[in-house]
């Protein structure tokens, strides 16, 4: 890392233009911050909401039932109407320092900017098959539920026709329904825990209403298939996740969706040596909000908490 001596050009830099980053930006502005840079790695604001075409967003915050893109759109319009918020799209932060400098890349530019305060709202990523160590082969046809969602909803591509969902996280449940609506067959949801880790409403609306077989206390024992997924073997587990002898069975499928949990994406914070605590980090003036702080079940809560973070950042800047 090259040390750059810089003067603070911005009052506040927000990394991430999803629901958390946008709420923080709006709230910081409402609380008096005048010079905000919002950087977003994708080509549009809204983050992962853009691929969540199902409904259920906004029930708490707007008292309305919205789709993901609709929910995002309300904030995108608001952010875009605030001239004091400069938005930089296709911009990916590659470094954060405890001195509150952010280095980011975008087409044609690499820039290092210093600010009085930084809010990290970089979201989360899905746990992969590798992280839960499923033995077997590594063929095509294994997707994180979120990637499958993007392929279907954004790109118009059908990843597979006979699907097994691993884990009962919300995205997995929602994608089970989505695959069925696309004419694919969802052969099973395999959940190692006793009960679902998703929201009850998703269990009802996505699983029960569509008669998807769910196997609680079961896990995938092995993935088969040389080039493309051909089948999985499934085994029942006991209370300590111990495999129960004699319970092994196989399911033919061409696709496996992984929905086994989310991890806050806070590598930059970690690399800067910044530790995270409740409401603040170990470095005054560096804040974290949204799913990069902790994993939320619903976006409405992300918005509310991130509004608070924006306010705190504004107060910090005011008191400098």
């Amino acid at each position: 890392m090259e040390e750059v001596k810089l003067v603070a050009k911005r009052e506040l830099i927000i990394v991430g233009g999803g629901p958390a980053g946008m709420a923080a930006a709006i709230s910081a502005h409402e609380n008096g911050v005048k010079n905000i840079l919002l950087i977003e790695r994708d080509q549009y604001l809204g983050g992962i909401l853009n691929q969540c075409v199902h409904t259920g967003f906004g029930i708490n915050y707007f008292k309305e039932i919205l789709t993901g893109p609709e929910y995002a759109d309300r904030f995108i319009k608001k952010v875009r109407n605030i001239p004091e918020i400069e938005i930089s799209l296709k911009s990916i932060a590659v470094s954060l320092t405890a001195g509150k400098t952010i280095t980011f890349l975008k087409p044609g530019r690499l820039e290092t900017v210093k600010a009085k305060a930084v809010i990290m709202a970089t979201g989360c990523r899905e746990k992969t098959r590798e992280m839960v160590h499923i033995q077997g082969t590594r063929p095509a046809g294994i997707f994180s539920a979120g990637l499958a969602q993007k392929l279907i909803n954004i790109e118009g591509l059908l990843p597979g026709k006979e699907v097994v969902v691993v884990g009962s996280g919300d995205i997995g449940l929602i994608m089970a329904r989505r695959f069925i609506l696309e004419g694919a067959k969802v052969k099973a949801i395999i959940e190692i825990q006793k009960e679902t880790r998703g929201l009850l409403r998703n269990m009802v609306q996505c699983v029960e209403d569509f008669n998807v077989p769910v196997y609680f206390n079961h896990k995938i024992s092995r993935i088969f298939g040389k080039d493309r997924v051909e089948k999985v073997s499934v085994i029942k587990v006991g209370d300590n996740f111990n495999e129960i002898f004699g319970s092994l069975f196989e399911i033919q499928c061409d696709t496996i969706l992984m929905s086994v949990g989310l991890i806050p994406e806070n590598e930059l914070i970690e690399m800067a040596g910044v530790r995270m605590g409740e409401n603040k980090t170990s470095v005054p003036g560096i804040f974290v909000c949204g799913n990069s702080f902790k994993i939320y079940d619903i976006v409405d809560a992300v918005t509310e908490d991130s509004m608070l973070t924006g306010k705190r950042a504004a107060e910090y800047i005011k008191n400098l």
Binding site: G108, E126, Q135, L157, R222, R228
Partner: protein, 482 residues
Amino acid sequence: MKIYDVAIIGAGVTGTSIARELARYKLDIALLEKEEELAFGVSKSNSGIIHPGTQNPPGSTKGRLCVQGNILIRKISKELNIDFKETGELIVAFNEEEIGELLGLKKEAETLGVPGLKIVDKAWLRQNESNLNTDAVAGLYAPTAGIISPYRLVYGLAENAVTNGVEIFTETKVDNIIYSKPDFEILTSKGLFRSRYVINSAGLFADEISRMLGIDDFKIKPRKGEEFILDKKKENLTHHLIFPLPSKTSKGVLIIKTADGNPMIGPTAEDVEGKEDFSTSDSGLNKVLSYAKRLIPSINDKDIIAYFAGLRPVAGDDFIIRHEDNVPGFINVAGIQSPGLTASPAIALLVCDILKKNGLVFKRKSIFHAHRKKTAHLFQIPFSKAKKLIKKDPSYGDIVCRCEMVSAKEIKDAVAQGAKTMDGVKFRTRAQAGRCHGSFCTTRIMKILAEGRKLPITGITKRGKGSEIVKEDRNHLRGVKF
């Protein structure tokens, strides 16, 4: 019909090394590969270690070629602009008895000509490898050990071979070879090839190729190795390659530094039946973790971001590199397991010698293009350099793979240089190789591949036919073209 001077079967590191060496001479060379891309066989799961020559029996061919190769690879990697890093290695002893074994290894290696070896004590280990188990009492330090990316080496060799006139045919599986004096007829899935000499560097399938010409005195027995890749955050876990004392069948479970930064732990060594059994197992993971933790106790299974299994093509204890006098013009280069990557440049020279001795006339080309332009990888360079690159070409700033910082420009370059599959892009650029495993960048890479290869999006595969990523393009249903 064109009659080649030399046909090489198998485009792993052995085949491509031989091809590039032969390309210095006025010869017509065909390199045949059954997979969709090069290095997709044994080479892709190589650990990437350039061995110093230790852990080989003194009289062995592989020991001799390893020591030579360790020297030769330095020049080759410079010419091809592929990063080689001399990290040095440590073979670690945990008690007095093992120190005795270290001394034995040192003596054997010195007989082979391995330079710079020294026994280091506990204090040295503390100072130079702070994460090493404090129970380690001594180490054999070999300064000439190093690391290289095995696939980038193969792609560099192949690219340079092509620049110098070698013809490469992929998806070309050899079905039969007939020796019809004075040349060979090679029947493949892409038609007939004729060649005066045939070199068999077919890795796991070298015994099957050899059998086609009646030579069946060796059998390739696959020995599986499972390897586990750690997050790049752990790049500085160790400063050297760390080895335990070797066993009879392998060099043991190692802590490997890689050219890409991610440390790797493994491999296992297990004789298996199938030549296509690349599955990984819970038992393999547990074995590797427990052995790795014995060396570096702080290793945590949460740091594992990827894993894979490779098969070593074992044909007895040593390499088989020989002209088959019963079939004049046929050369077997088989059983090239560890230290095959290190030995590959020396193997290539040896094969040239064998060809010469058996009548092939070597005339140097007036011009041999030894050098290959460097492929820039953002993850390998400081920001100041990245800034210059982005200024020159804006698409270096257009990041596709966020975990490994790979730009659209690098992916387009990889496609232009021959990547045809998602794995091919991954091996060349590291895109999809990081902690999210392609969850975020798969769609973008598919689009770049489809555009560069002029393929429909449904034709994009993970590693060749049958491994298509998506089953259907449904955009026509909504009246849109993908």
